[in-house]
Homo-oligomer: 83 residues x 2
């Protein structure tokens, strides 16, 4: 039970981490220094982590990677929009 709690806190942190980056790009209307390659590779990895989470039946891994994927798609969208 406390194991899932640790996983969920970790998941909240590594997922929420992308929020200030999304906000910063939106505020500056610039993503020049942000690496597009990073976010594309990260998105592939996060999708595969989701699969891994499903197989080992780890709720924090599954939920975290779905939310993270959405935030990554937002960064990729902003990167295309603002360059």
């Amino acid at each position: 039970m406390y194991i899932d709690a640790i996983g969920f806190i970790a998941a909240i942190l590594t997922t929420a981490a992308f929020l200030p980056q999304v906000y910063k790009i939106w505020k500056l209307k610039s993503a020049k220094d942000v690496s597009m390659t990073m976010y594309l590779v990260m998105l592939s990895g996060v999708c595969l982590w989701g699969v891994y989470g499903l197989i080992i039946k780890s709720p924090p891994i599954i939920v975290a990677n779905i939310v993270t994927a959405l935030l990554l798609i937002l960064v990729i969208y902003f990167k295309i929009k603002y360059k």
Copy 2:
């Protein structure tokens, strides 16, 4: 066995993802658009994922988060150096 393989590929992708960002900052000598908050929150989360990996005895989670932590520290160092 194949479960660990999926986890390891996912781990390689989400870890390697930070490499192009490290390279980009180093090349541009600029990290203006990169969010420091993101990397500090991410580092806390990655440390906690390491703890989670140790508890559930998941080799890909443990190894991935150690390497990711090192790359995050590099981005944070560059962010301080190049602003």
